[in-house]
Symmetry: C2
Subunit: 320 residues, 2 copies
């Protein structure tokens, strides 16, 4: 018998991906559409329904027992609604109800995209075997999720692990979220680039002012570019240390474009962690690059769906 097949949706501001995933995390069917992010809510939902249509049309569909959604946040798992910052047509949009209607009542599990990435890294990636982990995406924004006591910790609304918006500089720069000195406000790719430019760094002839261009300059020895990465690493270290001090994680996994900077980020990050993670019970904390690729959101959404089924909790290593 094959009852361990689940459907997964990964909904972001750029694309809507769908998949059928087996109990080992293998993607058996994959499909995606561009997100019509500036359209009205119903138009966006039709793109989701087109993705779902390709899944439900598959001969494999009859084996699907649940559906997991990892969505750009904020989400509200307690009401089944989403309000993604980058999808203005959806505000308190009843996504769970609509997806359930489009899949003839399949049980639906909704989590934020940072939580989904975390579920994937814990199941199959760099956090595998770790009972207490923080997984992060450091990119245009900074997101994350938590594994506590061997289980995914989405929190009541599915948003736990939002490390990008904890303040590590209470008098610092205003963040678009309304707070000050958030980790994201210091460590995201655009903020790494902004700080380098403000410090006098100048892009090359191609005019590329991305964090990747700053990283290239830093590798070539540009001190302003290096300093901007070091400041990002310091903010990430303060945030990671805070998380470890609060909930006792033993590993922080970092993915996303900025995470791909490698040693340029990880060397100052490990040094700064020694400054901020000082109490005895957090000194064993390690950091590691993410291992999952672009399908992490789908695999993580599948893990969340599998965790609804008690028999799958052990297999997937996650739980609600």
């Amino acid at each position: 018998m094959h009852t361990d097949l689940v459907a997964a949706l990964d909904i972001g501001g750029t694309k809507i991906a769908g998949a059928l995933v087996d109990g080992h995390g293998r993607i058996l069917l994959h499909t995606q559409r561009a997100t019509p992010a500036q359209e009205d809510g119903d138009t966006i939902m039709r793109a989701v329904e087109a993705v779902l249509g390709e899944l439900t049309g598959s001969p494999l569909w009859s084996r699907a027992t649940a559906l997991g959604i990892g969505s750009a946040g904020p989400v509200d798992a307690s009401t089944g609604t989403v309000s993604p910052v980058n999808i203005p047509g959806w505000r308190d949009y009843p996504l769970v109800e609509r997806v359930s209607a489009a899949t003839e009542g399949l049980p639906v599990e909704l989590i934020g995209d940072g939580v989904a990435i975390t579920a994937a890294e814990h199941w199959q990636g760099a956090a595998r075997g770790h009972d207490n982990a923080l997984c992060m995406v450091v990119s245009t924004g900074v997101g994350g999720g938590l594994v506590l006591g061997g289980r995914l910790h989405p929190g009541p609304t599915g948003n736990a692990g939002h490390i990008g918006h904890i303040s590590v500089d209470l008098d610092g720069d205003l963040c678009p979220c309304g707070s000050r000195g958030c980790v994201e406000r210091i460590a995201s790719g655009p903020n790494i680039a902004r700080r380098a430019i403000e410090g006098g760094w100048q892009p090359g002839p191609d005019g590329d002012t991305s964090a990747a261009a700053v990283a290239a300059a830093a590798r070539a020895g540009d001190s302003v570019a290096l300093a901007s990465f070091e400041r990002a690493a310091q903010a990430l270290a303060a945030g990671i240390a805070a998380t470890a001090t609060l909930v006792e994680i033993d590993i922080a996994v970092i993915g996303g474009g900025v995470g791909k900077a490698g040693d340029l980020l990880f060397t100052p990050l490990r040094a700064a962690l020694r400054d901020y993670a000082t109490l005895s019970f957090v000194q064993r904390l390690t950091v590691a690059p993410a291992q999952m690729g672009t399908d992490a959101g789908l695999v993580g959404a599948a893990a969340a769906a599998l965790s609804r089924q008690s028999s799958a909790t052990t297999a997937a290593g996650v739980g609600g």
Copy 2:
């Protein structure tokens, strides 16, 4: 049958308290000794054994099925050892083994004192009925603990919830822990007093430079004293908001001497929380004064012991 009686120890730098506690949290027998905090490890252990002797000598003792210890930290529940900052004679001291030996092998549960206070507030105090809570003690130091998903979250070593040593000011003042800008470094009683004195506040004729004296001056309209409390409230708000953003708590309970300052602390704290707790899923967060008294550590240690017994998990509302 009465099988729901447990023993509890509350070990701090000043006193060692012991009790027998029933399944409703009632203290049936209470005893305590001064902590010989500057003596060698064995001398301190003899004070613990004297407290235990009064418990084991009681006719009620035969009904005790487990023993909970809430100890000044850091503790290490994974090894059963403690290294309390204020008790230098104990470093990696095998407290669980010694207590177990002195009680003929009773199962022993070790947690940090902040976690114990949290268990007590969740069982019988201000966090009762809240499935996701942070409980804090703001006093000479700043400690805390977490309830997540309806259960106590001590973490693998029993130290989770250490909010006093998360950095909310990554370039801020050095903290004795080695980090910078910790919540405790800004919001503890001695730091409230230090900041007021540095700002020009002068104590009255009695020379009292405690945080309580600063609070009295603030109530009388002293602007420097008021500002010092407001800065403490700001740091607490940033730390509480960070905790809520990371793990989705819906209430923060504040006890300890500084917590007793009442509106002087809570009014600016609630205002600052609106600045730092900005994401949709943390805006429902409330703060409340602690309700438990001086027995909170004993009641919380008892709750942790009860939670070892599956039948008691529901009764106590806590779990490992």
